[in-house]
Symmetry: C3
């Protein structure tokens, strides 16, 4: 059985939890280095921008870990900046992942065809779980 056959159908999984208050959204440099213009616009327009940024931050981290967990992701890709993992909202509110730049290159090279993520908030925390497949 080849490596590719062994991998066939296998998924990678990632989880991330964040204290919602700990994501430093007051720091413009941090925000602009990690969030796309479209993400920033979306989060700032939400009723609770701090929670929206924290949820997206959790989602990006969870996707990053899911890509690493999938296997065969090159180390350069593993260090891809989080701005290359964009999390947008579909019409029904479910988050949609779009990979660009180094994250996309790493995912393509590893054979990842689809990445899903789910986000939740309660009390002081934001949590996200991602699946690379």
């Amino acid at each position: 059985e080849s490596l590719a056959q062994q991998q066939a159908g296998n998924k990678g999984v990632g989880v991330d939890v964040e204290l919602t208050s700990a994501v430093n959204t007051d720091n413009d440099t941090f925000v602009e280095r990690n969030f796309t213009a479209s993400e920033i616009e979306y989060c700032r327009a939400r009723p609770d921008p701090q929670a929206s940024f924290a949820g997206r931050w959790s989602a990006k981290e969870a996707v990053f870990k899911a890509l690493s967990s999938y296997g065969h992701v090159e180390s350069k890709g593993a260090g891809a900046p989080l701005i290359d993992i964009e999390v947008s909202a579909s019409q029904d509110g479910a988050p949609v992942v779009t990979l660009t730049g180094e994250a996309k290159q790493a995912a393509d090279a590893a054979g990842v065809k689809d990445v899903k993520v789910s986000i939740s908030h309660s009390g002081a925390y934001s949590v996200a779980v991602a699946l690379a497949q």
Copy 2:
């Protein structure tokens, strides 16, 4: 490659976190609208009914998100009441998901054959993760 082929083997994922104390189990209308008679009986007989209800609530939300994440779930199904997602306990304690009504219709239409969920509690929080496959 057709849409069906692209989807083949893909899973949907959902996560939900809840402050255990925030699930309003004192409100009979809320409880009866969202939990089946069998779930209510089970949770009320547990050592910590509040935690049991909160865990099941998290599980229902996580399954709901996993179904949406799977894709091709019709919007009507996406609005299915949570009572249509029943979470019961197997003999070894692991939760088992049974879909009925609109949730089942939506899952069938999307091609979901199996839904798994896992629940955990610690401190003030209940967390659940679901997989639609």
Copy 3:
């Protein structure tokens, strides 16, 4: 369709959340019953041993639940000691699961070929999500 065909491609999922402070790392008997020598050495050498032990504990619990969730896991395996689920760090820091003893027997008998886990910490909590496939 046979049971094996229905199961083909299906995954099991597990989640675990822990108050990081609640994992009793001062109790040598508890630690040695649940962690391998290699895990103990690794966690004690980390900047925050308490968080490292709690994260690994969450990971073991999540893997245990994912194996149960996969299905067809024999009850004896379901009671496998957590020391049989070893969580080590790969070169890039991502956790790697190695099953031994009863956990391995149960996983083999159920047809589980691969187990992935992801761990996260924030504030007072450690969370892990596992996938049995």
